[in-house]
């Protein structure tokens, strides 16, 4: 990058120098413009090393401003004008704006339902999305159907935007299926539990898109914690080197289970990308309009050969990491209240009401729809039965495999030894997510435990 020093802000959609263009404060390009302390500092290092052969001066990271953030709607619902990002959401009709509101309300409501299902013993685990609705709906609704999402396990809002049905959400968390949907139906990969691994998959997919001469975009969703993983850093190296049409969408929700973001990054996360040669944006992740504008900018860059963009959506995980977590053990007092005041849905509702786009009747209709979707999720979840025992061997390989064939044959014969056949033996030998320990311990041949057969 230093060979191509430019006086403009390389990633800026209006092409102005960063320091002459305060509206563009969300952008961070690191090395490209004259204001870059990196370029100057490197020059100093070179001089010092050749002339003085003494202690090299350190690059002073703190001199780079890093906390600026694109925001179009304030926490109280006031619209902030921004000539750079406004045009990217100017085309939204009142119906579309109401749609964003509805999406967020539905996602929050179904998320609450899933949490309740876990508390009632119907799900093994649930990672709530509460608080991150704007980050996920704003970006998810910016995508085209042929774009491809590689997400972590908390992107229920994105999945909803992709067309994942309520009935497809819970099977994995109930433990009855390895996946909830066919990735190619909705162009969203199986959610990733290994932190950050999916960022590389997104880059590889984007390289494939590039080879195909297509203009689809891959988008990787991950959190602040993931930015410490080697995979995410390798993904940025690959994306930059091959100028892959990919978006790194980081939801900085302030916490990686109990670890605050300060343990992952000493500077804003968005500042890391320019060092890889990837322009980045820092956006208010609780502002659905700002997120949509930022995502559209990044999508446009990727579609037109501009390569990767990194978006840091600053948001907050208002719930626990998962239903197994207890945030009261680590969350500072008052922090939740502080963020509740920046709630993504409340602020958007205030903005829409003020603009005359949202009224009580529509809000009531949305609440009713959200209840209906939540009920659909609950009904489908409770209706899920444990899979047949022998499906444990399905799809390990795409082609016939003698190791698996032998084990399947052997277990089939074993199950056949029981009078009641496969179902009872499976219940007696395998502890399902909802069966009690007693059911799991039932001796072969004994009457199956009621909990086991009912689920």
């Amino acid at each position: 990058m230093l060979n191509g020093i430019r006086n403009d802000c390389a990633g800026c959609p209006v092409g102005l120098s960063w320091k002459h263009h305060p509206q563009c404060r969300g952008w961070s390009t690191g090395s490209a413009h004259e204001a870059s302390p990196f370029a100057v500092a490197t020059e100093k290092v070179a001089q010092t090393m050749t002339i003085h052969q003494s202690l090299p001066p350190l690059i002073d990271a703190s001199s780079v401003p890093s906390d600026a953030m694109v925001q179009l709607i304030t926490p109280t619902g006031a619209r902030r004008q921004n000539p750079v990002f406004d045009p990217w959401v100017a085309s939204l009709t009142p119906d579309e704006l109401r749609g964003l509101y509805e999406d967020m309300v539905v996602v929050r409501r179904t998320d609450a339902e899933a949490t309740a299902l876990q508390r009632q013993g119907e799900l093994g685990l649930w990672p709530p999305v509460l608080g991150q609705e704007a980050a996920q709906i704003g970006s998810g609704r910016a995508l085209r159907h042929d774009d491809f999402v590689f997400s972590s396990y908390r992107e229920h809002g994105v999945a909803y935007c992709r067309g994942v049905k309520p009935a497809q959400v819970t099977p994995v968390w109930r433990g009855v299926a390895a996946s909830g949907w066919n990735p190619y139906d909705v162009n969203m990969a199986a959610p990733q539990v290994i932190i950050g691994a999916q960022t590389l998959h997104a880059v590889g997919y984007a390289m494939g898109v590039q080879n195909d001469g297509d203009d689809a975009v891959a988008i990787a969703y991950f959190g602040d914690g993931a930015t410490s993983e080697g995979d995410v850093n390798e993904a940025m190296v690959f994306a930059a080197s091959f100028q892959a049409p990919v978006i790194f969408f980081c939801q900085n929700n302030q916490w990686a289970i109990s670890e605050p973001v300060g343990l992952q990054a000493q500077r804003s996360i968005a500042d890391r990308a320019p060092g890889f040669g990837i322009p980045s944006l820092r956006v208010d992740g609780n502002d659905v309009l700002a997120v949509m504008a930022a995502t559209r900018v990044a999508l446009d860059r990727a579609r037109t050969g501009g390569g990767p963009t990194f978006i840091e959506a600053v948001t907050y995980r208002m719930g626990p990491h998962t239903t197994a977590d207890d945030p009261t053990r680590y969350r500072p007092q008052g922090e939740l209240e502080e963020w509740r005041a920046k709630d993504p849905i409340a602020r958007f509702a205030a903005f829409l009401t003020e603009a005359g786009i949202l009224d009580d009747a529509f809000a009531a209709a949305v609440a009713e729809k959200a209840d209906a979707v939540a009920m659909e999720l609950r009904t489908a979840c409770i209706a899920l039965r444990d899979p047949a025992a022998l499906t444990v061997f399905d799809n390990v390989y795409a082609e016939p495999n003698s190791t698996i064939d032998r084990e399947r044959d052997q277990y089939t014969r074993y199950l056949a030894m029981f009078d009641d056949g496969e179902t009872d033996a499976a219940t007696a030998t395998a502890a399902s997510g909802t069966a009690s320990g007693a059911a799991a311990a039932t001796a072969p041949g004994a009457a199956p435990a009621t909990e086991g057969t009912d689920r």
Partner: protein
């Protein structure tokens, strides 16, 4: 076979060149095949296995990647999601560990996790094994980490013909395949039939009887197939008939071929460079014992590298099972005088 009666489609190639020919054929036959690796393009690979392929197929299909093994495998996963058939080169056996998570948690599991919706037809080429006087991390045999991982297939080639055929089979497979290349045999030459249709070849999972025999079954794979063959020849001088089987596929294992042999000989020796603990030999010994216990005249015998970190190269002659150590293992299986005779008598 002499050159006179060789068919026109047969060429004498080194093992490395045979892999190169197989890769070229796969790139030619299927435009979804892409090669990823460090130094595989301009340089043609540190062992020149991919020599000339980037020039022929372009930098988008033969990709010099950044130096990041997890990055190579992780982007291969994304390419497979997109419908490609990536062939990844891990430059040396000892460099595969940074890619371990992507291989065992992603590549191996995605077909299962997506209930068959997403296929991972990824081939991972790994030059492996010692015997070349290399620096540390350049002589390892990490195959057991992968044979232990469900969802992966693992093969090791021993000769130019198999190298050519099996790289094509690995790439054509809809399952991920670890393809281990015996780097100390890269320059071994043999005639290779280049035009064979894949549908006419034996399945990739099959073992092959290299030398027929009656007294002892000797299993080997990769670099030790040649050593085992030499041992069988030497044993003939002592009047011992050794059947040498090239395992070829380490996961799954072709137990039908092994069992048929052991039921005749009653004695089994397994040789590999990797250490014995948790290794391929132990698994086969256990399985053969389970499956044909009553046919066995002696406990299965393993002849392996020691359970030590790969030693400095001036010690590898002791570490690697050579012809004499394999013959000693044959003697043990036969209950003849051997390195353990006194020890066993003492018990």
């Amino acid at each position: 076979m002499t050159m006179l009666d060789a068919p026109v489609d047969t060429q004498t190639l080194t093992l490395a060149n045979a892999i190169n020919a197989g890769l070229r054929r796969a790139l030619h036959d299927d435009d979804k095949v892409v090669l990823l690796g460090e130094d595989i393009g301009t340089l043609g690979g540190v062992y020149r296995v991919t020599d000339g392929l980037q020039r022929e197929f372009g930098a988008r299909r033969v990709v010099d990647t950044p130096l990041a093994e997890a990055g190579i495998l992780g982007t291969a996963v994304g390419l497979a999601y997109r419908g490609y058939r990536p062939v990844c080169e891990i430059q040396f056996d000892g460099f595969i560990y940074p890619a371990f998570d992507q291989i065992v948690a992603q590549v191996a599991k995605l077909h299962y996790r997506t209930q068959g919706a997403v296929r991972m037809p990824i081939t991972i080429r790994v030059p492996f094994g010692g015997g070349i006087g290399a620096a540390e991390h350049h002589s390892e045999s990490p195959e057991a980490y992968f044979t232990h991982t469900s969802g992966l297939r693992v093969v090791a080639v021993s000769n130019p013909q198999d190298a050519y055929t099996m790289i094509r089979q690995a790439i054509a497979s809809d399952d991920p395949v670890l393809y281990f290349e015996p780097k100390r045999r890269y320059h071994q030459k043999a005639p290779v039939e280049l035009d064979g249709s894949l549908s006419l070849t034996e399945p990739m999972g099959s073992a092959r009887v290299v030398v027929p025999g009656d007294d002892v079954t000797l299993l080997a794979y990769g670099p030790l197939v040649q050593t085992a063959t030499d041992a069988a020849r030497a044993a003939t001088a002592d009047g011992i008939s050794v059947e040498v089987i090239d395992l070829r596929s380490l996961a799954p294992v072709d137990y039908a071929t092994i069992e048929a042999s052991v039921r005749r000989t009653g004695r089994l020796v397994i040789a590999h460079e990797a250490g014995s603990q948790g290794g391929v030999g132990g698994e086969i010994a256990a399985s053969v014992t389970e499956r044909c216990f009553s046919y066995l005249e002696h406990a299965p015998v393993r002849v392996t590298g020691f359970d030590v970190p790969y030693p400095p190269s001036r010690l590898e002659v002791h570490h690697l099972p050579g012809l004499d150590r394999i013959l000693d293992g044959v003697d043990r299986a036969l209950g003849r005088s051997n390195s353990l005779s006194e020890l066993e008598a003492g018990w």
